[in-house]
C-alpha cells in the first residue's frame, strides 16, 4: 500500500472527528509549546548573561569577602563564614600598590535620605574611587563617569574624605529645578555635601530610575555612613590578561597578610577572587541548569501527551475493529494495518507539534511583555527538537495500538458489531 495514499487516508480519518483529534493532541501542543518556551527562556537567560558581562574585561578580577560571598551583596549570607573579616575600603585601595594591579574599582553603597530645605528624596548613595582620565572620556560605553556639568571628585578628595558629591539627573531635577546645582549643598542623612557635578541623564529603565543616585568618595562613604570596616566590593584591573593567575596570587597573598591568615597552618581564606570569565561561566552554567530542569518538566508533559494519543488510538482501534476486519479480508497485510494506524498517530502528534510550535513562538513576545524577571529569545534549535520530539512521541505511543490493530483476527473482527 502506497505511503501517500495511507497518509491521505489517515488525514481524512482524523478529519472526520476534529474535536476528538484536537483534544487528543492538546497534550502534545502544550508539551511542545513548553519546550519552545523553555528553550527560549534558556536562550534569553544566556543572552542576558552575555549582555551583563559584555563590557567587563577579561583582565579584571572581582574580590569579595566570603562573609558576603557570591554575587549577593547581603552580608548576612547564610553560606558565608562568620569568622571572615571584611575587605575594607582601605585594604581595597592598598591593592592598587600591588605590582600586577593597575587600578581598583571600589564601591560601597546604600540608600539614604537626601534633603535640601523641605525637599527630600530617597536616593542610592555609592562611595567610589575617583575616575581616571580615560573614564571621563565621552562616548566610552561602559563609563559611569560621563558628566553633564561640573567636575568629578579627585584622588585628593578620596584621600581627605571630602564631603563632595556628584548627583544623578533625577536628583538634580528634584532639588534644583531652575537653579545651577554645582556649588550648592545637599544634606545626605543630615550631613552637608557640596555638589560638584551632575551626571549625564541615562536612558530610563522599566522598573527603576537609573538617574536617582549620588556618588561620593569611597572614604567619605565609609567614614560617614557605612563604617570604616564595612565590606566593599572590589574590582581590580590587571596589567594584562596573561597575568590573571599571578595577579590572583598576589592579591591573595596581600589579603592573607592583612587578615592574618596562615594557609600553612590550614587556615582558610576568608575572601574569594574570581575572574569575570569564571563568573560569566558560572552564570551561564546556572542558566543552563535552569533550562534543563524546565526541559525535564516539558518532557513530562510530552509523555503525558503521548499517553493521550495512545489512549485515543486504542479507543479508535476498538471502535474500528470491523473496519480492520474488512480491510484484512480484502487483502490488507499486517504491515498495512500497522502503517495505517501508526501514520494516524504520527499525523496527530506532528499536527500537535506544529500547533505547539506556533503557540510557543506566539507566547514568547507575551512573556517578554508581561514578565519583569524573565526574558525569552526564540531558539532556532528548538524547532527540529520539538518536531522530532513530537514525531517520536507519535511513533512510540502509536506503535502499541497499531500493533494491536494488526493482530486482530479477521474473522473475529468481521463479526464485531
Amino acid at each position: 500500500m502506497s505511503f501517500l495514499k495511507t497518509l491521505k487516508a489517515a488525514i481524512e480519518s482524523l478529519g472526520q472527528s476534529k474535536l476528538r483529534s484536537l483534544l487528543t493532541i492538546l497534550g502534545i501542543i502544550i508539551g511542545v509549546a513548553a519546550v519552545i518556551i523553555v528553550l527560549a527562556l534558556g536562550t534569553g537567560a544566556t543572552q542576558s548573561v552575555m549582555e551583563r558581562f559584555r563590557f567587563l574585561g577579561s583582565n579584571q578580577l572581582e574580590i569579595h569577602s566570603v562573609s558576603s560571598s557570591g554575587m549577593m551583596s547581603s552580608s548576612a549570607s547564610s553560606s558565608g563564614n562568620p569568622e571572615a573579616k571584611p575587605i575594607t575600603f582601605e585594604e581595597a585601595l592598598g591593592m592598587e600598590e600591588l605590582s600586577l594591579v593597575e587600578r581598583v574599582h571600589i564601591s560601597l553603597g546604600g540608600s539614604r535620605i537626601v534633603a535640601r530645605g523641605w525637599a527630600k528624596l530617597d536616593t542610592s548613595i555609592t562611595g567610589t574611587v575617583a575616575p581616571t582620565t580615560e573614564e571621563l572620556v565621552q562616548g566610552e560605553e561602559n563609563s559611569d563617569w560621563i558628566l553633564a556639568k561640573g567636575e568629578p571628585f579627585t584622588r585628593e578628595d578620596v584621600e581627605y574624605e571630602a564631603r563632595v558629591c556628584v548627583i544623578g539627573h533625577t536628583v538634580a531635577e528634584e532639588f534644583f529645578l531652575d537653579e545651577e546645582p554645582v556649588g550648592q549643598t545637599l544634606r545626605i542623612n543630615g550631613i552637608p555635601f557640596l555638589v560638584i557635578g551632575v551626571f549625564q541623564e541615562k536612558p530610563l529603565e522599566r522598573f527603576y530610575d537609573p538617574n536617582n543616585y549620588i556618588k561620593i568618595p569611597i572614604s567619605t562613604a565609609a567614614a560617614e555612613f557605612f563604617g570604616r570596616d564595612a565590606s566593599v566590593s572590589v574590582t581590580a584591573d590587571i596589567v594584562s590578561e596573561e597575568s590573571i593567575d599571578a595577579a590572583t596570587a598576589e592579591i591573595a597573598a596581600y589579603l592573607r597578610e592583612r587578615h592574618e591568615i596562615d594557609v600553612m597552618a590550614g587556615e582558610e581564606d576568608d575572601f574569594d577572587i574570581r575572574s569575570f570569565e569564571a563568573q560569566a561561566k558560572a552564570a551561564m552554567e546556572s542558566a543552563r541548569t535552569f533550562s534543563s530542569l524546565l526541559s525535564g518538566l516539558a518532557a513530562v508533559s510530552l509523555i503525558v501527551g503521548g499517553i493521550g494519543i495512545m489512549n485515543i488510538m486504542l479507543v479508535s482501534v476498538s471502535e474500528r475493529t470491523r473496519e480492520i476486519g474488512i480491510r484484512k479480508a480484502i487483502g490488507a497485510r499486517h504491515g498495512d494495518i500497522v502503517q495505517q494506524f501508526l501514520l494516524e498517530a504520527t499525523v496527530l502528534s506532528l499536527t500537535g507539534g506544529f500547533l505547539g510550535i506556533v503557540a510557543g513562538i506566539g507566547a514568547i513576545p507575551v512573556i517578554n511583555h508581561y514578565s519583569t524577571s524573565l526574558f525569552a529569545a526564540f531558539a532556532w534549535h528548538s524547532l527540529p527538537l520539538a518536531f522530532s520530539f513530537s514525531f517520536l512521541v507519535g511513533v512510540a505511543f502509536g506503535f502499541y495500538p497499531a500493533l494491536r490493530a494488526s493482530q486482530l483476527d479477521p474473522i473475529e473482527a468481521l463479526r464485531h458489531e
Partner: protein, 230 residues
Amino acid sequence: MPSAPIIETRNLSKVYLMGTVEVYALKEVSLSVERGEFVAIMGPSGSGKSTLLNLLGCLDRPSSGAYLLEGQDVARLRDTGLAKVRNRRIGFVFQTFNLLPRLSAQRNVELPLLYSRDSREDGSRRARELLQRVGLGERARHKPSEMSGGEQQRVTIARALVNDPAIILADEPTGNLDSATGKEIMALLREVAKEGRTLIMVTHDRSIGEQADRIVWLRDGELSIEEASA
C-alpha cells in the same frame, strides 16, 4: 483430460478448544471445485458452513488437512501470503455487505487496489467501470448509508471484482435483502460466474441454493451429501 480443480481440500478439519473439550467445527472435509463452477454450501445453523467458507477464503487456517488453491497448498502460507491470496485471487461478498461507512462507493470499490497496486488513475477508472456494470454508475460518490441494501450489495460485488479474482465467495449474499432485490443480486452473481469465475456461496435458502450447479450439504461439520442441481 479434465483440468485440475481450482479448489481442492483434503481432510480439512477445524478444531476449537472449549475449555478442555475439543469441538470439531469442521471434520475431514474433502471437497473439490472445478474452475468456473457455481457451488452452494447448505446446511443448518452450526453445521460448519461459515467455518468452511472462512477456510476457503483464507481468512483462517485449518487445524489439519490440506487446502490446494490452484494446486498451491495455501494452508501453509504465512499471514502475508494469505493476505495476498485474499487480495488477488478471491473476492468476498458478505451478508452484511461490510463496506466502510465513511468512504464513498467509488472509494470502497477501490479499497482492495490499495493493497495491490499503486497506479491510482488506472484503479479509479476500473472502479468506475465496475460500478457502472453493477448499475451504480450514477451513485459512485454516495456513501453506504445513503444507499439501499441492494445497492450496497452491488457495491460489494463491484469491490469483489476489482482485482479480477478467479474465485468469488459469497456468504448469504441475499440474507439481508427482500426477495425481489435478492433475485436481482443472484442474477448479477450468476452473470459474474458465467465469465469463468468460480462462485462458492453459503446459503440456507433452498431456492437460492438450487440456482447453483451443485449443492454441498454440511451437517455437524461433516460433508453429508453432494447433489447436482438441476
